[in-house]
Symmetry: C2
Subunit: 192 residues, 2 copies
Amino acid sequence: MGRPREFRDEAAVEAAMQVFWEKGYEAATTQDLCERTGLGRGSLYNAFGSKHALYEQALRHYAATKAEAQLRMLDEPGPVKDRLRDLMLGVIDADMADPGRRGCLALNAAGEASGRTGAVAGLVRRQFDDLEQAIHRLVLVGQASGELSSERPALQVARAFQSAYYGLRVLAKVTDDRATLLDVVEGAIAAL
Amino acid sequence: MGRPREFRDEAAVEAAMQVFWEKGYEAATTQDLCERTGLGRGSLYNAFGSKHALYEQALRHYAATKAEAQLRMLDEPGPVKDRLRDLMLGVIDADMADPGRRGCLALNAAGEASGRTGAVAGLVRRQFDDLEQAIHRLVLVGQASGELSSERPALQVARAFQSAYYGLRVLAKVTDDRATLLDVVEGAIAAL
DNA sequence: TCCATTCTTTACAGGTGGGTACATAAATAG
DNA sequence: CTATTTATGTACCCACCTGTAAAGAATGGA
């Protein structure tokens, strides 16, 4: 009972996520969050408790939407190499189309000192682990079908690819040269 | 003429670099900088002008010391694969020995929104380019001597390795599992 | 010795940060 | 209709942030 919320929690978290994504945790102000969510300070603190708690919610929301979409992309049919290549090409398109060069929120969180301890570190680690597992499964499929060589352990291959993936996202932040990023993609695929 | 400085500029920049490295640009306060450098606010602002200008100096200092040391490591004699492997193994040792998990300052700078525009972005880009060139030279050497296959363009190989290198540094921030990181190393070397 | 110059110290300014208190509004249960 | 519960809006707190002003301390040169 009691007075009902005038907003959807998820919509507010989505808006907050955008703020943290653009500015990072430290640089984002509670005023930014109020403006973007459309909430007054009272409502925002009543609903989420603190800036940091809202940040954690935003990271969870990112995992459940953006990161999840990436993982689903890997489950589509077709050759394993094509799926992994499409994952990287999709990232290049998305990152270069974004004028703010926000990159990956989880990766940004890992970069800030506040993201290397406590609950945030756990959320980031989980997203990294999920990606590792998804790639690992895919490599196993490729090795089973004979598309990929089975000379090296699947987990090692998966981890090397994952690493190249994060490196790609880092590079996409500082370079405007698509050719550089495409070299990374072809290099990573050739290494499978 | 005039009253002489009571400190060495480089020592102050080194101390400031440590602060930015540990906390990031946004979270570092001018008070942190004063305490760590041992300077009063007046001296600090007189010498460096602003927090942001000092940040740029710190990045330059990082490039001239830490990053430069990495590049020199690549110039030592021996097989190309060994040199590139040692680069990565050195990073694993350094990153895991660091309780603060600070990682690479340039990479951290790229993660913060303030590091994606203006002078800071340029400084970061330059460090990335320097590493790309160093690896590229090394791959060319390896291909010329026959140690590495010449099937793929040296620049592509170099860029893929560089990408894995940055991915490794990202992963080193969130995982405590050395085996994961060693997989990345072996995967990246095998891809040469 | 006196001056111009540069550095150091201290105090402070103006603004902004995250967070809270409180009065008011909107709903339900009885 | 009243009591209770929950949400909203406003006003506010106070700690802290970056940057500056001003006065005193060292230097070199005339």
